[in-house]
């Protein structure tokens, strides 16, 4: 246990390179303790001793912290005890164990032990088998990971070792494309400036490369093994933790102290890219790595039906106790009045008074009536969910062939909740959009390019089959680039000067980095896909950006190599909304030279058209500068940029000054490509009364624009409120204004300020006149999510049809989800693709990951994953709805059949002296749930559909009952119980009256206990089977087979159990010998069975029929309609893109994330070893923030705590100014 203390006390990690003996005594992890913790708290990550390893290595592993990981739970010896222990922690299993104990007490035992043991063993076995296979898989993947090879510096030599043998303090060598073995401190690399490039997709989901840089002092070690072996630096750093974006520590080497930060750390889970080799010092290994520290704390999600079921099961237990109490009291009275006199034939044991007898009876009835909560309920529920999950995996209509990705149900326990979703929280980039920007159209000098017309002048819809422009004239063209309008190429070829200038500008003015691995094979690294699209467009039209240095840009212009000198880079910020040469149209327009006003009008018209199609537009302009003026300006610019105070505003002034009287060139239109079918999906979902909130890190304009193009915001909406205030008061005021305009009459119903929410449990939905939209930005959202305002915000948001939150941090995404979960009591779904969506995916009831562009982080923490947003409608409207319907039908029916079964015992108690005598044969009790009724109800719950998938899409309203919990609720449950009560009365008293004093046709006995038991159980089975038939609305061959098969099975089993052979085997186990033969050949027995069956069903049919006629539900109407229509309707037509005639447009083609601007000027990024090493490192004035994880993963920490709460609002892009060197004519 002192290990725990040590672990808790590890406030600082101290290690020395190449010195295992030194590092050994610290015992960085205490294996045994973690293991025992792992058991009790079921942590998924544990320290491994590697069972497959030899004993020595296991020992050594025990002693020292190594890099081995263990995600498995059991080994062959611990499996049985541990697994059983875990299983009996489940309340249901424990309950059955308790019943078993009761059953072995002879005074209490009213049923044989096997009635409980058989189901219990079956359940335990199935669960254990599932756990075992899961664990074997985990062992397998652990072994695979642990046995990967890596080169480790041991005894002054590089040796190939398994990952699990790597220890803290070791120096290891990584090669290109290798996974990083452990959390390393980067020592040296093959690249200039000791840079390495890493891909962090597995860690944070970002696909763009990141750069890490070693300290110069360690970088000088190079790949000199001798030097590396002599390296004895000591590292002191933070203890293991899970913060991916932060690291603090110091390196002491050769008497000097160096500070270490995240820039020098390679984390396990990342991959080395574009780097020949690198050396690293292991700081954290195995379970202590930040990757592993981030795993396994996923919360266990339960569905609302689960929660309801738990409540119901508790109620049932209460009801069970109530029934048993009544029967015990009955027994007490019976003993006093009758039993005490019946002693002639049944003597009482001494000292057994009525009270004690009642006490025993209570427990005896607990055993008999336990079937109200049958263990098979839990098993069946799991099976049904599993089956419905498989349907999701198997669905071809959710398979995306382009990436060969089928949908995947990663959690198999949440299916029915998919049918109850009320709120969908969606990420934008990569979820609604493809995160691919394509250069679609442009307007140059007033002429619009990009559309394709046929010979009659009709504009053609561009499809996959439209003929593409042939770029073969350009050897450097990107083969993936597609353009359909030939006239633009013609214009380029004809050397139209404006067109050339246009593309030259695109090729020059950007912050893209080019990489040319092979001659002619260019690949661009762009921070924003927009930039990449523009530069790629220029490339294909003959203006190929090839390489850059800090002060020049090389391009190939129509086959000619040219170099442009880069004169100045102007910063870009949110206020300016422009990049001087490339910038937002509305801003650029104000700065145009008067001479181009005519061109402006034409271009404006075209811009409106582009924007109307949802394209992201940019206006391009240029200006020739007088050299003298520029030099003077540059001097002032230099002065201003070194100012300490007020630098920003001074610079702004300068920019203003130079950015005027520009000459308009044209405009480009970039399509932020929506994924296929997004608008239709959103429309469908909103028809199903699902509210969609878009939570995006994007800017307000971008988000708004996408909101329109994906049909979330609509022109016909009464109003779209935009909340973007900078103080809490203003935000509150704006929210209130919005409420007032939505509900004019009720402006006095504002929630009081201050401590709201105490009494509020669930906020009701409010009806408003008209449709509204709400757009709120990150700042305002931060205020709106404060405790004092959250309800106000929620109320406003819920009154709107569509809500878009922009500039949202991952934490805020989760907060919004939590807010809705907390106060709306509705089922939420979050869908996203990036690491920044993980928090909301985990927070929502259901998390859906889009397996798309941005790595796997979101998918890994999601419950369901698929490749395209549009599959969401199928997931919800088809799979979710069916799952919910099936689960509810299952539960209703299951409770019905078991209550009915059990209640008959209750009635019989009044006729058998409350002696806990069962009505049925014990074999029947054992097999009722397992054999006789299991398959039919499973069949129903796996195959049932009210209407098929096409109709489900046709009528999204069918989804609404699920949101309202209509199919299974406390009320429905109560109805079930009442129905059961009626059925059980019929099932007991009809046979009672029919058999009372009657005899067989030959005068012999048929009113004996055994015949009565057989009769009642047969009646019961028929009644519940017919009831199932009524519930089932989709009779496949399988269902029919199950239903009829189960009935046949019942008779087969019964006749077998009651046969001579079985009796001879064990007379005491099969005492019902001959009962079936002697009673089932009597017509009055069969007439009784018929009567009870019909009598059980008739009222239900009558009730349902009248109900359907008098107040039909949407389902009834639909089913009627479908049956009438016979043929399935044609699938919904794919509507063409909705064209808007809106003046709304966005000018932001640039990612809000920080660009490469810094690097471009500093030269750090460039592979030019000639550049001075030190200048790149000590970046005066600016800290090296170039690659801190901003943008998509900004501020995200898997702990759910915000790391950098305020993302600076300054957009770091750049203004670049060029002076042509070789072509002064421009």
């Amino acid at each position: 246990m002192d290990c725990v203390k040590k672990k808790e006390q590890e406030l600082e990690r101290k290690l020395r390179a190449n010195d295992r003996e030194y590092n050994l005594p610290f015992k960085y992890a205490c294996l045994d303790v973690i293991r025992s913790l792992g058991v009790s708290q079921s942590l998924r990550v544990e320290v491994a001793a590697g069972e497959s390893q030899s004993p020595q290595s296991a020992l050594s592993v025990d002693a020292v912290k190594t890099n081995a990981i263990k995600t498995s739970k059991y080994n062959p010896f611990t499996f049985l005890p541990l697994n059983l222990f875990e299983q009996f922690q489940r309340i249901a299993n424990a309950y059955f164990l308790f019943l078993l104990v009761l059953q072995v007490i002879p005074q209490i035992s009213s049923l044989s032990w096997f009635t409980t043991v058989v189901p219990l063993v079956l359940v335990l076995t199935v669960t254990a088998a599932k756990d075992a296979t899961d664990d074997i898989n985990r062992h397998r993947s652990d072994n695979q990971v642990n046995n990967r090879k890596v080169k480790v510096l041991i005894d002054r030599k590089l040796r190939s070792e398994k990952w699990l043998d790597v220890q803290v303090g070791d120096i290891i060598k990584l090669e290109n494309n290798q996974f990083v073995t452990a959390d390393l401190m980067l020592l040296s690399s093959s690249e200039p400036l000791n840079l390495v490039y890493i891909e962090t997709a597995e860690l944070d989901g970002e696909t763009n490369l990141k750069v890490r840089q070693a300290l110069t002092v360690t970088g000088d070690l190079g790949e000199d093994i001798e030097k590396l072996a002599d390296f004895d630096g000591e590292v002191r750093c933070e203890p293991p933790n899970n913060r991916l974006d932060r690291f603090t520590g110091t390196l002491t080497y050769a008497g000097q102290k160096y500070s270490l930060d995240n820039e020098k750390i390679l984390l396990r889970g990342t991959t080395l890219r574009n780097t020949g080799w690198c050396f690293g010092l292991v700081l954290f290994g195995g379970p202590e790595t930040k990757l592993m520290q981030n795993c396994g704390k996923s919360t266990f999600k339960r569905t609302s039906i689960d929660r309801l079921m738990n409540v119901l099961v508790l109620c049932i237990f209460g009801f069970l106790a109530f029934m048993c109490t009544i029967l015990a009291i009955g027994n007490c009275f019976w003993e006093l009045n009758e039993g005490s006199q019946f002693t002639v034939f049944l003597p009482r044991q001494d000292g057994n008074d009525a009270g004690f007898s009642a006490f025993l009876t209570f427990w005896s009835y607990v055993i008999i009536l336990n079937t109200v909560v049958p263990i098979s309920l839990y098993v069946s529920v799991e099976i049904i969910r599993l089956g419905n999950s498989f349907y999701i995996d198997w669905d071809r209509k959710m398979y995306y062939s382009r990436s060969d990705t089928p949908a995947e149900a990663r959690t198999t326990t949440l299916n029915e909740e998919l049918g109850q979703i009320k709120y969908v929280f969606s990420d934008k980039t990569g979820t609604l959009t493809q995160n691919i920007m394509t250069f679609n159209k442009c307007s140059i000098n007033g002429k619009s390019y990009g559309d394709v017309y046929d010979y009659t002048g009709q504009r053609l819809e561009i499809t996959e089959h439209t003929e593409r422009v042939d770029f073969s004239f350009n050897a450097l063209a990107d083969p993936r680039f597609m353009f359909h309008d030939h006239s633009l190429v013609e214009a380029v070829k004809l050397e139209n000067p404006e067109v050339h200038t246009f593309f030259r500008l695109l090729a020059l003015c950007h912050t893209v980095m080019a990489e040319e691995k092979k001659e002619g094979e260019l690949s661009y690294q762009a921070q924003s896909p927009d930039e990449g699209a523009l530069v790629t467009a220029a490339r294909n039209f003959g203006f190929v950006f090839r390489s850059r240095t800090p002060d020049s840009v090389s391009i190939v212009e129509m086959g000619q190599q040219r170099s442009y000198e880069l004169l100045a880079i102007l910063d870009f910020n949110n206020v300016r909304k422009r990049m001087s040469v490339i910038g937002a149209d509305t801003i650029i327009y104000e700065r145009l030279h008067r001479s181009c006003s005519k061109l402006m009008d034409v271009t404006t018209e075209q811009l409106n058209e582009f924007a109307g199609e949802g394209l992201r537009t940019l206006v391009l302009a240029y200006k020739d500068l007088d050299e003298g003026y520029f030099n003077e300006w540059k001097r002032r610019h230099h002065e201003a940029s070194t100012l300490l105070d007020d630098r920003e505003s001074k610079l702004d002034e300068l920019y203003e000054e130079i950015e005027k009287d520009l000459l308009l060139l044209g405009a480009s239109a970039i399509e932020d490509k929506l994924q296929d079918g997004v608008p239709q999906t959103i429309e469908q979902l909103s028809k199903a009364d699902i509210k969609i909130w878009v939570l995006t890190g994007d800017k307000q304009e971008t988000a708004e624009n996408i909101g329109y193009s994906c049909n979330l915001l609509r022109e016909e909406m009464n109003d779209v409120f935009i909340i973007s205030a900078n103080s809490p008061e203003d935000v509150r005021q704006e929210l209130r204004d919005a409420q007032t305009s939505m509900k004019p009459g009720e402006d006095s119903v504002f929630l009081p300020e201050g401590t709201l929410g105490k009494g509020v449990k669930v906020m009701a939905d409010e009806a408003v006149n008209g449709e509204y939209g709400l757009v709120i930005n990150g700042h305002s959202l931060a205020y709106a999510l404060e405790r004092s305002m959250e309800l106000e915000f929620l109320r406003t948001a819920c009154m709107c049809k569509a809500v878009i939150c922009c500039r949202v941090t991952p934490l805020q995404k989760a907060q919004v989800v939590e807010l809705v979960k907390k106060y709306k009591g509705a089922v939420t779904l979050a869908i996203g693709d990036g690491a920044n969506d993980v928090s909301m995916i985990k927070a929502a009831h259901i998390g859906v990951g889009i397996s798309g562009q941005e790595g796997m982080q979101a998918v890994l923490s999601s419950d369901y994953s698929f490749a395209q947003f549009r599959f969401l409608q199928r997931l919800l409207l088809v799979h979710g709805r069916w799952s919910y319907l099936r689960m509810c039908k299952f539960l209703r029916y299951f409770f019905y059949k078991n209550f009915t079964f059990t209640f008959v015992h209750f009635w019989f108690a009044f006729f058998c002296g409350f002696s806990a005598q069962t009505v049925y044969d014990e074999w029947f009790i054992t097999l009722y749930n397992l054999v006789y009724t299991a398959l039919p109800v499973l069949g129903m719950s796996l195959f049932d559909q009210d209407v098929n998938d096409v109709w489900s899409f046709q009528q999204p309203q069918l989804y609404v009952p699920g949101q309202l919990n209509l199919y299974f609720s406390k009320k429905a449950f109560f109805k079930c119980a009442l129905h059961s009560c009626y059925s059980s009365l019929v099932l007991f008293f009809i046979p009672y009256a029919a058999m009372h004093d009657t005899v067989r046709g030959d005068g012999k006995d048929v009113a004996d206990y055994q015949s009565f038991a057989l009769l009642t159980q047969t009646c019961l089975l028929f009644a519940v089977t017919i009831q199932l038939g009524l519930e089932m609305s989709y009779w496949t061959a399988v269902n029919t087979f199950f239903v009829l098969g189960s009935l046949v099975m019942y008779f087969v089993v019964t006749f077998t159990m009651y046969s001579n052979g079985m009796f001879f085997m064990s007379p005491s186990a099969f005492p019902f010998i001959g009962t079936a033969r002697n009673s089932l050949n009597q017509p009055n027995i069969w007439l009784t069975i018929l009567l009870t069956s019909i009598l059980c069903v008739l009222p239900v049919v009558t009730y349902r029929f009248l109900f359907i006629q008098l107040c039909p539900t949407i389902n009834d109407k639909m089913m009627f309609k479908v049956r009438q229509a016979k043929a399935t309707p044609a699938p919904l037509p794919r509507r063409t893109r909705i064209r808007r005639t809106s003046s709304r447009r966005s000018g932001y083609a640039f990612s809000h994330a920080q660009g490469y601007g810094d690097l471009v000027t500093s030269g750090r990024f460039l592979r030019r070893p000639a550049l001075s090493r030190s200048s790149g490192l000590t970046n005066a004035g600016r800290t090296t923030t170039g690659f801190s994880p901003m943008g998509r993963s900004a501020g995200y920490s898997p702990t759910g705590r915000l790391q950098n709460a305020k993302v600076p609002d300054v957009e770091v892009a750049s203004l670049q100014m060029y002076r042509t060197i070789t072509d002064p004519s421009l």
């Binding site: 009758e338 006199q341 019946f342 002639v344 034939f345 049944l346 005896s364 198997w394 669905d395 071809r396 062939s401 382009r402 060969d404 990705t405 089928p406 006729f911 058998c912 002296g913 002696s915 005598q917 195959f943 998938d949 009672y992 058999m995 009372h996 004093d997 009657t998 005899v999 067989r1000 005068g1003 012999k1004 006995d1005 009113a1007 004996d1008 206990y1009 055994q1010 009565f1012 038991a1013 609305s1033 009779w1035 061959a1037 399988v1038 009796f1063 005492p1071 010998i1073 001959g1074 002697n1078 017509p1083 009055n1084 007439l1087 009567l1091 019909i1094 009598l1095 008739l1098 049919v1101 009558t1102 009248l1106 006629q1109 039909p1112 009627f1120």
Partner: protein, 339 residues
């Protein structure tokens, strides 16, 4: 993007099952099915009900209580528990021919053969002739497993111990002369009970099997001497024993005692006066029980039971009635087919 050629390694199979397109019959509670269905079921039930009712009416039952609670009852004197070997005479008359075959039952009421501990108080192994169970009866027989001298009781248990032991002799009184009506005690138990479930140990003579055991406490004679007239009707396959061991489901029950099938009575009991001589041994008054004798004939539907016929009639009529109600509702309120 680059890969235009489609890799379909992960594409799910296109089967009706995986795509949930299995052909299915989708019934619905439509008026076209429900209303005619109700009418048909109703009519069928009324038909069955009438048949059952008529049949049940045709069955003759004669029930006579002989518990002897009332002072004017001929068995009153026997109801005193202290009187041993009491015999009483029950006189009754039949107006017209009691059509045969006539079955002679005895009936008990307020008698809980279905009480759990009573029901469990037997040893099936012993009763199937297992000699091991003779020497060591099952615990379930307690307290009737061993007597006070620790000798095993065979047959053990409360059921066997409480075997009904009143005996009856039926006389036809013709002109004051009593003429014994022959009663057939064979074949009154289930064939399976007689041939399979209950078996005597294969020891001859049977008596030897019962060495070192004692008879049940209430029994006057051991099991191998139950029927002095027929050596084959002894031990566990004694017909009366078998009938008793098939315990009743409900606290009021009747059990077959004898059949009247022989000689002059093959066609039934002729009209006239009868006298039943009862050896009154079985105590029921202590628990407010009653004893009765029942003479009854049977039909294809078994013994007399009017409930089933009436129930069928009632349910059938209800069906027809409901179908009319539904028709009215359907005609008046049927939901609009189009929204």
């Amino acid at each position: 993007m680059v890969k235009e050629e489609k890799e379909i390694a992960n594409r799910p199979d296109n089967t009706a099952f995986t795509q949930q397109r299995l052909p299915a019959w989708q019934p619905m509670l439509s008026a076209g099915i429900v209303i005619p269905g109700f009418v048909l079921i109703g009519l069928a039930f009324i038909g069955i009900g009438v048949a059952l009712f008529v049949t049940s009416r045709s069955i003759t039952v004669l029930e006579i209580d002989y518990t002897g609670v009332e002072k004017d009852s001929p068995c009153y004197k026997c109801s005193d528990a202290d009187v041993k070997n009491c015999v009483c005479n029950l006189v009754f008359s039949i107006d017209s021919l009691f059509e045969g075959p006539v079955f002679f039952y005895y009936g008990l009421s307020n008698y809980f053969q279905n009480y759990r501990k009573y029901a469990a108080s037997k040893d099936d192994d012993q009763l199937s002739g297992d000699l091991d169970a003779f020497t060591a009866p099952s615990d379930s027989c307690s307290p009737y497993d061993y007597n006070s001298n620790d000798k095993p009781i065979v047959p053990c248990g409360a059921i066997a111990n409480s075997m009904f032991n009143d005996t009856f002799k039926l006389y036809r009184v013709v002109n004051g002369a009593k003429k014994l009506v022959p009663l057939d005690g064979k074949g009154i138990a289930w064939w399976t009970d007689y041939n399979v479930k209950y078996r005597n140990p294969s020891v001859t003579p049977l008596k030897n099997a019962f060495n070192n055991t004692v008879k049940p406490i209430f029994w006057p004679k051991p099991a191998y001497q139950l029927d002095a007239s027929d050596p084959a009707n002894n031990g566990f396959i004694n017909q009366d024993f078998l009938v008793w061991m098939r315990r009743a489901a409900l606290p009021d029950f009747r059990k077959l005692y004898r059949r009247i099938t022989e000689g002059d009575y093959a066609k039934g009991l002729p009209a006239g006066n009868y006298s039943l001589t009862i050896a009154y041994n079985y105590p029921v008054l202590s628990f407010d029980g009653t004893k009765k004798v029942v003479f009854s004939n049977v039909s294809w539907m078994g013994g007399k039971n009017e409930f089933l016929g009436i129930a069928y009639l009632v349910v059938g009529s209800l069906c027809v009635l409901m179908s009319i109600v539904m028709l009215i509702v359907y005609a008046k309120f049927k939901f609009p087919e189009e929204d």
